[in-house]
Homo-oligomer: 253 residues x 2
Amino acid sequence: VVPVVQASELTVTHGSSAVVMKYGFPSLANIKTRESYVTSYDPRTRTASWVIEKLNHSSLHGPSNRKFCDFKEDESVHIFHRATSADYKGSGFDRGHLAAAANHKWSQKAMEDTFYLSNVAPQNPHLNKNTWNNLEKHCRSLTKHYMNVYVCTGPLYLPRQQADGKLYVQYQVIGKNQIAVPTHFFKVLILEKADGSGVELQSYVLPNDQVEEKVPLEHFLVPIEMVERASGLLFVHNIMKRASSRQKITANR
Amino acid sequence: VVPVVQASELTVTHGSSAVVMKYGFPSLANIKTRESYVTSYDPRTRTASWVIEKLNHSSLHGPSNRKFCDFKEDESVHIFHRATSADYKGSGFDRGHLAAAANHKWSQKAMEDTFYLSNVAPQNPHLNKNTWNNLEKHCRSLTKHYMNVYVCTGPLYLPRQQADGKLYVQYQVIGKNQIAVPTHFFKVLILEKADGSGVELQSYVLPNDQVEEKVPLEHFLVPIEMVERASGLLFVHNIMKRASSRQKITANR
Ligand SMILES: [Mg+2]
Ligand SMILES: [Mg+2]
């Protein structure tokens, strides 16, 4: 079956929120729409709660050049709650993209918008350059098999049992503005089948730590419910509301 | 100068959001309006980010009886992110009211609404029964001197330096649903002068811990900016937008 592509889909810019948010808003706080993504900012942690992008063949190709991009403060955020590059300096953490720059070659502006520090979180440099980078490549490669790949990325702050037997959330904060260092990151992929028969979900959770490169990405697959409980966000409920009855939702195949 | 009270103020119910939120919304996520307060829920921590009430002479007096009130789950919150009384059982923490029950004697429904577990956070029992209770009484007593007392209450998760010299946020989570135990609580009071000449602010931060009863409440006064930075919320900016030029805003006098 050849998918029927709506005319509107061909003309609307990639980053417009109506297009990116086809499967709903995981939460409704401080929503911002940028050229390449839609995001919800958490002023308490000074990072996004989530960032959603829509990838497909055409968003991945174009003339954009990362050389002309620079990290920048998000001036739409009050200075009390805004991350600066100075906060990251000497912290030992990378400015890790949530929406990846290389996903938005279609427009220089779209690529530049991924460099807002509100689209960034403190990330282990080894993770950023290796396994996390592989996960970003995996998202892009899925555009070969799916009509559209919606990618939702965000930080997690997971509890751990301590010596007293109780569960505690513990995370570092860096810089004068006390940017939270997530304990983990998630990516939820909503994969739209070309034949319109439904969507598949893939949910990944990676520790914000050096990860042995040989560990395959499949090792980090988790049930979507785990991400939903830990993040405070909802995905499946939103997708269900929008899926037609003949569409199937499959998770983590 | 005798304040000109608008007719609408006399007829509108106490809890209606237009009345309670006269000085704006500290944030815009998951806003809920209840009979006695307006609140913003944080599904990740399973507690409110803030709760605002409006107190005055008439809200403090009436036929309500706490005996007929019982803690209850907030069914408007998805079960993944909802606190239950079972989560608190055996945790060593009280179900501590954010909007206080005794502030809403004017209506049984208003008092009952303060018993939603979304208006509650895990609180040190000694603090709850002593210094925190005194702070709640202080808020009520201010209605003798001010026309209206707006009280905004919420949890804080403050960083602390650890042995490695770095700053970490650390907090316990309790129960099957992993309810966050705040490290501190804040109350921001917006005090409306009877002569309409302006508002005064008082901001308190108390540790979620046993506090020596003899320590006076003034000891816990902090600059409003401290609460704004730590909570991710904004108060002064919202008040400024709404204050007429002749009105003075005074903090912590
Ligand atoms: Mg990166
Ligand atoms: Mg109490």
